[in-house]
Amino acid sequence: MQSYDLAEGSLRALNQALHDLKGLTNMTDWEVLNPRGAHAIAAGLDAPVTVHVRGSTGYYCAGMNKQATVHIHGSAGPGVAENMMSGTVIVEGDASQYAGATGRGGLLVIKGNASSRCGISMKGIDIVVHGNIGHMSAFMAQSGNLVVLGDAGEALGDSLYEARIFVRGSVKSLGADCIEKEMRPEHLALLEELLRRGLADHKARPEEFRRYGSARRLYNFSIDNASSY
């Protein structure tokens, strides 16, 4: 395993080394020590490698990730895995605001809670949160799946497009144009798979969740809906 100590080396040198991995697939196992809340750790990776971050991270850890698995053995600051394209990001602790924002692919697993705006503007990413999520989560979410084993805060799924939201606990309130939808067999099958991939199949069963999605009333502007905006 390649080990890099951020107490001794710079963030720039770490990220450059990780970016240089493209094609050099024999160094597939990395460890980052002493992250101490640094920002943009392992941002912009594009190689099938695994990076274990031993501690908590600042903003944008694993931002725009492709292919790589980034495992944060601590909590993550704002924007973890923002705009992720593919690969997997696992947060052992809690995640701050905008976790998985605008993500276009891959899987984000948060074993603790996620703060507000989790999955904001998501575009294809799958997010599995073992705990609760904060307000305005999945705001303007376009596609992908957000699975929450705990509770959701206010205005869930406001101005939602085609993303699917599954919540096991309570939802404080739904945002504009977000409604509860029927859980059909294909959704149960999808959820079972998401729970398995999200390392949560031992914690919850698909039947315990409710599904939320877009009512599609705001897709084309109508003056009669003006108060919803």
């Binding site: 963030l11 943009a40 941002a43 903003y59 924007g79 923002e82 705009n83 905008y98 605008t102 276009r104």
Partner: protein, 443 residues
Amino acid sequence: MTDFPRTPPRFSATFTPAVNAEIRRAAASGIYDIRGGGAKRPLPHFDDLLFLGASISRYPLEGYREKCATDVWLGTRFAKKPIHIEIPITIAGMSFGALSGPAKEALGRGATAAGTSTTTGDGGMTEEERGHSRLLVYQVLPSRYGMNPDDLRRADAIEIVVGQGAKPGGGGMLLGQKISDRVAEMRNLPKGIDQRSACRHPDWTGPDDLEIKILELREITDWEKPVYVKVGGARPYYDTALSVKAGADVVVLDGMQGGTAATQEVFIEHVGQPTLACIPQAVQALRDLGMHRKVQLIVSGGIRSGADVAKALALGADAVAIGTAALVAIGDNDPRWEEEYRRLGTTADAYDDWHEGRDPAGITTQDPELAARLDPVLAGRRLANFLKVMTLEAQTIARACGKSHLHNLEPEDLVALTVEAAAMARVPLAGTDWIPGRGSGGY
């Protein structure tokens, strides 16, 4: 009945026929007016400034013999690979979606032939523009439509869009008529919906976050790319200062004459400051921070000629960007389509329903038949011609003022024709040494 002269019909200066027509339109439709373009109202502008030219106390350069350089480096503060443009005029961000594929290609071709850069827009990077643009600036917008790290890495510079002059504080809008299959796929949206883009970025709020966002983008691109921050003309002094503080290489400042693909008329005409008023505030911020010329300032919003370029540079900008003028150069609002403009209830040079996607010139549309009307090679050549003419015009003025580089133009070369322009541009009213507001303590 006595035959006295009758009082002629008198229109109200407040309730003009245009105002009344808008009231009737709103009452009938129940929705605000949406259109493209920038502010159409009269505003203090570059036309209100004049150059003094050389005299006994200043001597000019020979028009065709002595060099007047025009090149600009952008991104010299932090980027490992700053970009070098041959003329101080760039093409502003305009989206594929708002514009057709051939129009984007034409902008790339024209900019490249003239030695300058072009810019993506809200909708991602297309092959048309990357393939035909030697220097391409990739915008990072609140919507993040099409955003991906591969395009970040193949861009020549990155522009974080905080606002635009037509609508500082507003998000994007692309109505269903223009959400074709290809646009829908690029933006990951259902076809035919009215696209609503957010006005705030999804993963940062405020200047402290912006600094970290810039750090992330630099890390992802190994600190190679210049990072621009684009702001609308709202509070140029503070917006410029905070962009510099957040680590921008370049500040792009768009005044209220700057265009948009589609926004509420009330937003375009009533929010933001004129370009003329914006520039001195931004330059003052750069000077106060000791960063003038170190962080480059690109100004846009109503730039139409070499005279406008020279005036913007004399006030302290490093370069300008054009959007509307570039569209006109490639064929927008051309009188040759007059018959079709009439059928749309408008006329050439007044057509601004760009959101409807029925542009007879084939520029602001996703209709394949209309888009095919624009020959990107010919349109690109027209844009290159226009850029060259603007540059020659700016050089003509600069030489007359005795300057060997366009950047040597300065406020001292200018006077204003109106009190308003003198106050905004902070140059003397012609025939006086009076700069209104000077000594008031500034900002």
